[in-house]
Structure formats: structure tokens, C-alpha cells
Assembly symmetry: C2
Homo-oligomer: 204 residues x 2
DNA sequence: CGAAAATACGAGCGATCGATCGTGTTATCG
DNA sequence: CGATAACACGATCGATCGCTCGTATTTTCG
């Protein structure tokens, strides 16, 4: 049942998602209470539930908003043409750098990027984001290694995404030189991994 | 205040840790209730709290038990001699294979291996395990790359451990052929990463 | 044996959680 | 304007959480 939103309502939804992202970054999903979200967003619990039916829906909406932002910030990095022709380190940099910037700007995004075997509730909310990113990476790998069978492509994309996700926490937590060093390590790991990804490398 | 444990008590403690490990594997730390632990261990909540002052202490004890088991299962893999002389893929295999076997045998171990920026409660309980493993990996890397400065050694160890931890979830969740394929990918990723770890590789 | 210590139980405490609801306020529109 | 719908509030609900406590049973040991 759709509701005619007023401008004020749209603003409030944004406030809720902002508060949720901040609290997820500090406490994670389980330890973030809906009352705390409402308080940080400057509203009552009742108002919060005017816009979302339950906690999971908030996580889903936040996941969707992050996905949209990521898509916008990442548009250029995922075109197939450069995927096939660029040197591998350059290609990895083009994908990783915006991703790092995004996560630094949005700490707490990683909470919505839960790895695997999580409680179904959060897993369901974060799967769209996770799947979308993995899918884009798979497309990139497929474009670069045209001979690679689909199962191998998907597995390589999953592994690459897991590696990035695993190191994003420490990267976001670090600062300055140490962060730069960790990003360099992440790129080295990805290049080292992908360089040996079966099939021929068009730009090796 | 130490307590003279009877044989029955030691057995009960083992039951509690077994139940906790199983529940952590299914639900994670937050969603595992102490009452559920007691129920699965076949005792009342009161009995559970006869052996542990609180939930965090249970996680710590479990973490310690896992660490001991891991040490036993891993003794041979971490000697310095082979670290310097073995071919890198062989060395990686010797470390990774027992680790995979251990995690397959103890699903839920990964719950105690929380990455970073987790709620302090769980983080404190799992840090010993995490630090011990990272320290052993660091010693291995230091033995293999004698010229590498300490900060670089520690960073590389941390990155390697994060990569292993990130892929352990999918590996444990998979079975048969797919699991073997994922393990192979993990090894490739580690070898690719470590092969380029500055300094000279004694056995390159 | 008998006393002390360890083990066992489970109803229930206080706190907190996600979510509801009755009531009042503000915006939209004919 | 008046009417309707969207927005806002916060006390409070029922459920669940980590944990306690009074009491009963079993083991240890002199």
C-alpha cells in the first residue's frame, strides 16, 4: 500500500538511514536498537515505524541506498572495454580506489556486506548489495578472461570480493600512511590472485 | 576464587563449550542466548553459571580451547626451517590444509575470529586466538623474508590472515569438489600475494 | 558415618528489545 | 474554510535477554 510522501517525509527517511549507517558502523546490526536509531535521527520510535515496517526493512533500504551511491561513484570503473585492454594493476586500481573511498566515506557499509552464514535476517537485507557487487566483478573478469568457464568466473569474483571485504575493515580503521600501505597490499593481493586466473590474459 | 573441580564438573564444562561452538556456528555470538547454550548442553541456566561468570567468559574459554586444539593440530606446519626452504606453494599448503580441516571439523570457530571493529565484548574474547594465529604467521613470514622490516612483516601477516579468514566461511559452507576448488583458489591467492612480498624469496 | 564442598535445578528478576497504538499536529487540496 | 491524509509523539506492550537465588542432590574426605 503506497503512501503519498511529503517532502518532510523523504527528509526523515534520509535521517533514519543516516543514523542507521552511523550506528551500524559503531555497533553492528544486532547491537543497534531501533529505539537508538530513532533517537539519533531525532525522532520518536513511533515516527520511525511510520516509514519502515521493521528493523530488517531499514537495513534493506540502507543497503539499497548504498548500492545506488556505489553505482554512481563506480560507473566508470566497470566498463568492459577497459577491462580487457588495461594492464591488470591499473584495472585493479580503478576498481579498488573508488571502493576504498566509498567505504571510508561510509563506514558501516561493511556491516551490510556480511560475509556468509549470517543470521538470515541480515543476510537477506544485505544480499542485494553483495550480489550486485559480485555480479559486476564477475562481468569484469569475464570480459578479461573470455575463455574462462562461467563457474570459474563466478568463483573468482566471489573470492576477489571476499578479499576486498576482508581488508576493507582494517583499511577503514587505519589512517594516512598505514591506510595507503594496506590499500597497496590489497591491490597486490588481487593482482597476484587474478594474474593466475586460468585462461590467457589479454593484457599480460 | 579457585574451585576444586570434580571430574563431573570438567565434563560439564566440555559440554558447555561444545554446545556454545555449535550454536555460534548456527547463530553467531549475539543471537546465541545463554539459556540456549544451557539447554543444548543438557543443563539448567543455573548450572551453566556455576562454571562461568558470564557469557563473555564462555566465549573466552571456547576461544582458548580452540587455540589449544589448533596449536596441537598445527605444530608441524609452523617450524621455521621449512619456512625458509620449502617452495612457496608447498609451504602455503602445509599451513592452509590443517587450518581448513580444523575449521571444517569446528564450524563456528570463525565466529570467534571476528575481523575488526567488533563490539568490544566479543573482540576481547577472541583476540587471544586471533593474535596467536597472526603471530605465528608473522614468524613464518619473517623466517622466509629475513630482510623484510618488522612493520611490513606484521602487515603481511595480518593481510594473509584476513584473506584466509574471509574465505574460510565459503570453504566450510561448500562441500566436495566446490570446497576443493575454493581451497585451491585460497592457496593461489596467498601464493600470489606472498610471492611479491618485497625482499628476496629464498626458495623462489 | 557426618559435615563440608561441589554440583544441579528452574522459577523468576530487572533490563532491554522490536514494535504498537491512541492522540495530537501539520500539510495538502477541493 | 473544512476535510482528509501524512506526520509526530512517547508511554507501553509482550517477548526475550543475561543472570540470580533458594533449595535440593551428589561427591569428597576426615
Amino acid at each position: 500500500m503506497p503512501v503519498r510522501r511529503q517532502a518532510r517525509g523523504e527528509r526523515r527517511i534520509g535521517d533514519i538511514l543516516d543514523a542507521t549507517l552511523a550506528l551500524f558502523a559503531e555497533l553492528g546490526y544486532d547491537r543497534t536498537s531501533t529505539n537508538a536509531i530513532a533517537a539519533r535521527a531525532g525522532m520518536s520510535p513511533g515516527s520511525l515505524y511510520q516509514y519502515f515496517p521493521n528493523k530488517e526493512a531499514i537495513a534493506e533500504a540502507l543497503s539499497q541506498r548504498l548500492l545506488d551511491q556505489l553505482r554512481a561513484a563506480h560507473a566508470a570503473a566497470f566498463d568492459q572495454a577497459s577491462a580487457a585492454s588495461l594492464p591488470l594493476p591499473e584495472l585493479v586500481s580503478r576498481v579498488v580506489d573508488p571502493l576504498v573511498a566509498f567505504n571510508v566515506a561510509n563506514p558501516g557499509a561493511k556491516t551490510l556486506f556480511g560475509t556468509a552464514a549470517m543470521p538470515a535476517a541480515l543476510s537477506a537485507g544485505s544480499r542485494p548489495l553483495h550480489d550486485a557487487v559480485t555480479g559486476r566483478v564477475a562481468a569484469l573478469i569475464r570480459a578479461r578472461f573470455p575463455g574462462l568457464p562461467d563457474p570459474d568466473v563466478n568463483r573468482a569474483a566471489m573470492v576477489a570480493v571476499q578479499i576486498v571485504a576482508a581488508l576493507m575493515g582494517p583499511i577503514v580503521a587505519a589512517e594516512g600512511r598505514e591506510r595507503a600501505a594496506l590499500v597497496a597490499e590489497l591491490k597486490r593481493a588481487l593482482v597476484g590472485y587474478l594474474a593466475g586466473s586460468g585462461g590467457s590474459d589479454p593484457a599480460a
